[in-house]
């Protein structure tokens, strides 16, 4: 299998970033605060920045090796890099932008990314979401072996972000390319990537599936970064509310609207844990077994079925929570956020 192997040290202004990571045919997101050097990692892989040490190899071909003194020029690496502000060529039409890296697939990509009607437009005439699609098409036109996305959703306004994110997720699933994306937003990373790596102070502190990061954060930083639960289900209207049937079978309700495949975001502190169904205004109840208990300062993270809840240390003791115990996790419909997702590939 074609794997991109990265093991590099990248010098930054005040510290060095070290990263060792194999990248197979999947999407990996690197998440960390702004200024953590995430973009520099992508630039180093693309050949636009020179690591101070290490090696980057792809399917047996060495792109960079400090030991052997190899540093291929960007044009000699098979990489598609989508820049944060998209970096579309302003003096070329959409079609010529896409054809810049390779002319074979231009019509196919125009079609696939719904850009056919915009083929003759200039980048200055496009919306943020359209620009992103052009940037993706342009990167893919070169038939890259590796796709790199630098903060792909940051340049978009909140209004268009959700739908663009859903489209991007769909596209990444389809193209089956090793993809590395960097973002400062865990929610974006969780929606787009199968594996999420958290970078703190120049090193990768944890890499795992989004659900595993939420459930078992390696340190408080990861815990605060990941914050929310993300589970998936199918939504449909139900009176004033939206009814969502979670993949594990439970039905929950949200005040957000949505239909079809959705991601459900619930913050752990919005979830109360009790022995039986509580007699309060919460509409949503998920009954499950406690699979883990992690104490963070004066709080306890409780994993109940697919959800992570947080309670105070006091109430955890009062409820005598222990692993393997049966409890009910309750949360309000107003605390249940819906993120649109497209249909998963069949």
């Amino acid at each position: 299998m074609d794997i991109l192997n990265i093991d590099i040290t990248v010098p930054l202004r005040s510290f060095a970033l070290e990263l060792a990571l194999p990248l197979g045919t999947e999407t990996v997101a690197l998440v960390g605060p702004s200024g953590a050097g995430k973009s520099t990692v992508l630039r180093a892989i693309a050949g636009l920045a020179r690591p101070s040490r290490g090696a980057i190899t792809h399917a047996g071909e060495t792109w960079f090796s400090s030991e052997r003194g190899i540093n291929l020029a960007p044009e000699d690496r098979s990489v598609g890099l989508v820049f944060q502000e998209y970096a579309l060529f302003p003096h070329m039409s959409v079609r010529r932008n896409i054809a810049y890296g390779g002319t074979n697939r231009v019509d196919e990509l125009l079609e696939r990314l719904h850009l056919g009607a915009l083929a003759d437009a200039r980048p200055g005439q496009l919306s943020g979401g359209e620009r992103q699609r052009v940037a993706l098409a342009r990167a893919l036109a070169r038939d890259p072996r590796v796709l790199l996305l630098d903060e792909p959703l940051t340049a978009l306004d909140a209004h268009t972000k959700a739908s663009v994110r859903a489209e991007l997720r769909e596209l990444l699933r389809e193209i089956q390319l090793p993809t590395l994306l960097v973002t400062h937003d865990f929610e974006d990373a969780a929606v787009l990537a199968q594996q999420v790596g958290v970078i703190v102070d120049g090193s990768l502190v944890q890499i795992d599936t989004p659900a595993a990061l939420v459930a078992a954060p390696a340190n408080p930083f990861v815990a605060s970064l990941t914050g929310a639960n993300l589970v998936e289900g199918n939504a449909r209207a139900h009176g004033d509310l939206t009814e969502v049937i979670l993949d594990e079978g439970t039905t929950v309700y949200s005040t957000d609207s949505g239909t079809g495949r959705v991601g459900i975001v619930i913050y752990p502190w919005e979830i109360t844990v009790s022995a039986g169904k509580p007699d309060d205004s919460s509409l949503n109840h998920v009954t499950g077994t406690i699979t883990s208990l992690v104490t963070i300062d004066n709080r306890v993270r409780v994993q109940v079925g697919p959800l992570t809840a947080e309670t105070s240390l006091g109430s955890a003791e009062r409820l005598r929570l222990k692993e393997g115990g049966q409890v009910v996790a309750s949360f309000k419909a107003t605390a249940t956020r819906l993120l649109p997702l497209l249909q998963p590939p069949r």
Partner: protein, 276 residues
Amino acid sequence: MTRRPLFPFSLLVATVISGAFLLLPLIAIFTRIPLSTLVDQLGNQVVLDALIVSVKTTLIAQALILLFGTPTAYLIATRQFRGRSLAITLIELPLVLPPAVAGIGLFAAFGRSGLLGSTLRVFGLELPFTQTAVVLAVAFVASPLYVRQAIASFEAVDQSLVDASRTLGASPARTFARIALPLAVGGLAAGAALAFARGLGEFGATIMFAGSFQGVTQTLPLAIYAEFENRFEVALAIGGLLVVISALLLVALKIRLPWTSSTSTSLFLSARSRSS
């Protein structure tokens, strides 16, 4: 009693005086003698010879300035190296040099007994008082105007576009031709127009280094000077011709700029040093 607002009134007076002062010599060129007489003088052999010499030498100098100045500007705009700001300052120096200094400098470098004089003689070349000398003088005084504007224009090209081009498989040369050059072309054209206008008006360095021989080295400004004492109306006619050419250049520059993406025409637009 009514008090006239003094401040707006004095602004107006100053503006009228400035305008009159700047326009009066130009108006005088066209009204000193009847316009038909002025136009007739353009058929004079001295004028025709000078026009041919001026156009020929300025165009050759312009071609050399573009050919060597463009790569120079691109290198300086896109590389960080020690002594970069010193290099920019040296390139700009001829802009502020008195033309007489340029003339004596060219003589000292390329003259018979100059630095390169003996080398040039080996190849049978003697530059002073030839048309080549005119070209060199024009290129020397005019090129800094182009190069500094070109540096600023290349610096204004978004680095991420250059990076994008490279990751899309384009070599540095292709990136220059398809991205940097088209995006900087408005600023380059502005710089070229300024250099052309400066070259066409070049006087001091040319008269010292190339002399003023009709049909060989006598350019339009030199012809004005030569005819000034004998045939004032011929000098006036050449002056009028240069006013028209300069005005056309300026108008072309102003029309061209709005629809190009690049930078200002400002003569003293400073080449910004990029901070990382």
